[in-house]
Every structure is written in C-alpha cells, then in structure tokens.
Amino acid sequence: MQFLNGITLLLVYQLVGEITVRLLGLPIPGPVLGMVMLFVTLMIRGKAPESVDQASTALLSHLSLLFVPAGVGMMAHFGRIADEWVPITLALLLSTVITMVATALIMQVTTRWFAKPLPEKEGGDE
C-alpha cells in the first residue's frame, strides 16, 4: 500500500506539473515542474513520507532500465544517423568529454575557493 500511495503521489505531482506548464505556457517540461513542486512540499513538511521515499527509491534504482525503449529507438533513426554520423558521433563524444572534464574541474576549484572559510563560520550557524 505504501508503494502504491507513493507512486500515486508522484503521478499527481507530474499531472499537476503538466497541467500548470500548459496553462501558463511555461518553457519547462511538466515532470521538471512536478519535481520542483514536490521538493518545495518536502521542504515545507520537513520530511519525506515513507511512501514517497519507497516509490522514488524503487524508480531511481532501476533508472537505466527506463532508458532502454528510447535507446531501441535508434533503429528508427538508422538512416539519419548513417547520413550524418561524423558530426553526430564526434560532437556527441567530444562534447560529453569536454562537459565532464570542465564541470569536474570547475567544481573542484570552486569548492576549494568557497568551502575553505566555511568550517569556522559554520560553527555559529548550527
């Protein structure tokens, strides 16, 4: 029952997200708005209910499975991919490597810049 309640809640948030995005003509996808709304709700409530926690753990622990049908979609695009395989493969590969390296380095450097003075200041905060 817990799991069912959790998945229902996730679907309700997605549905409200989809409707809001369409009503207001927002430039973000419905599930993303649903995620933000759920996050805000959790912040206000101060804890994640067991049901939501269970459902989200179940969905997220098999996240790669959910990408499989989209990946099989490659077969419907063989023609286009074959036509432009050089820009597609090179741009995809290089851009992914560049993004990963740049983001990791930026995160490492900025963490050192901004996190150093934190331990002292944090003391009074907590």
Binding site: P27, P31, P69, V72, A91, T96, V97, L105, A115
Partner: protein, 245 residues
C-alpha cells in the same frame, strides 16, 4: 493447415503490448546479469547490451519500432514519475547542498552551458544540419526533459531520446577513467560532473562508485534538468544571433 496456431499467435503477439514490454524486461534482466558477471565493467553497461539485444531481435523478426514501442512505452512512461522522484534525493542531500550551494551553482551553470554550447558548436563545425544540432543540444539532460526541449528548439524528439541514451552511456563508460586522468578525486565533484554530463545513466554508474557520488550525481541531474530547460532555448537564440548558421 494443420497448425494454424503459430502464425495466429504471432499475429496476436505482435499487435499486443505484452510482447514489447516482456522482451524489454527480459533483455534488461539478462543484460544486468551479464554486467554483474563482468564485475560491473562499465563497457558492459546494461543499457548498451539490452538495447543491442532488442534491436537485433526486432530486426531478425522484422518487427517495426512502433510495434515494439506499443509495449516499450510502459517502461518509457515511467521516466516522467522518475523525474518527479528526483525531488527526494535532492531533499535528502539538501544540507550538503546548502553548504556547497555556490560551487554547485557555478559548476551547474557552466556545465549546462558547455554541454549545450559545445554540442551545437561542434556539430555545426563538422557540417551537421540544424536539425541535428538542435537534437544534440539538450543531450546531457534526462530523456523526458531533453525531448521536450528538443521539440521546442526545432530538433527531433525521438532522435534526441537516442542521443541522450548514447550520451549517458558515453559518460558512464568514460567517466571514472577521465576523472583519474584529470586527478579529480573528490566524490562530490565527480558526482556533479557525472550528473550534469550523463544524467540518469551516469548516475546509475556513480552509485556503484560510492553513495555520495551517486547522491551528488542525482542532485546534479535533477538541477541540470531544470537548468537545461531554462537555459538551452535562450542559449540557442543567443548562438543564432552571434554565429548565423
């Protein structure tokens, strides 16, 4: 006709979602077992092997993708609630996130802009059509988000879905080696980079390295989904103005 059965059964099965759904789960189950057998070698990523198995099977039986998707859509659909579910790890990591909010914000902003900008730029440089450039632009965001953006900026959503999966696999396979080379050892930095560049497939890989790397990757995936949705359409306009295609 002594055995009308076999053909009738095939006609029934190929028109019903049952077959597509079942083979998706069976293929993934096999792929996952293979992955564990190879000691979680990133090259045996379960998404790669299950997609390969399914494509070979569909081609061998002459089944079209749209027939397969009758069943596959039930799995695909769960990407929506899974995106909403990201709010939970985001919430659970919030105290860590609050400490690191400035580095995370800067890294995310840069990462999302670099991901979209470099894919558009490289594809254009290499002579890719506008459609391909726009289909590539949101490739680092998680599938439902990337497909939505692709549609808005003039790409092909279904092609974007494929590119998203290949991007995720690339990130998951290369990630740990790359981080070794550039000597980034901090799990928070590795996680953020993985989530920004390789969304859910990267996050699945990150969870195998450590739970902290996984949590930060999940966090980065969730935040960058949001940032990509906001930034990429704007970035595309900006690029159009600077470098007319």
């Amino acid at each position: 006709m002594n055995e009308p059965g076999l053909k009738d059964i095939w006609v029934y099965l190929s028109a019903s979602p049952l077959l597509g759904l079942t083979i998706t789960l069976v293929a993934y189950g096999l792929a996952y077992r293979l992955y564990l057998k190879t000691n979680s070698n990133p090259l045996a990523n379960p998404v790669v092997t299950s997609v390969a198995m399914l494509i070979i099977l569909l081609l061998a039986t002459g089944t079209s993708y749209s027939d397969y998707f009758e069943g596959g859509q039930f799995v695909h659909f769960l990407l929506g609630p899974a995106t909403v579910a990201l709010a939970v790890p985001l919430y659970q990591q919030f105290s860590r996130l609050r400490q690191l909010w400035l580095p995370v914000t800067i890294s995310l902003f840069c990462g999302v802009v670099i991901a979209a900008g470099s894919s558009i730029g490289l594809a254009r440089l290499l002579g890719g059509s506008t459609e391909i450039q726009m289909s590539l632009a949101p490739k680092s965001a998680t599938a439902p988000v990337a497909m939505g953006i692709s549609e808005k900026i003039g790409g092909l959503p279904s092609l974007t879905a494929v590119l998203v999966v290949i991007t995720g696999i690339t990130g998951a396979v290369l990630g740990t080696k790359l981080f070794e080379w550039i000597r980034v050892r901090d799990d928070t930095a590795k996680g953020i980079a993985m989530g920004v560049a390789a969304h859910g497939i990267g996050t699945a890989r990150a969870f195998q390295v450590s739970s902290q790397m996984g949590a930060f990757s999940g966090l980065a995936m969730a935040l960058s989904a949001f940032a990509t949705a906001l930034l990429v359409p704007w970035l595309v306009d900006l690029l159009e103005a600077w470098i007319p295609a």
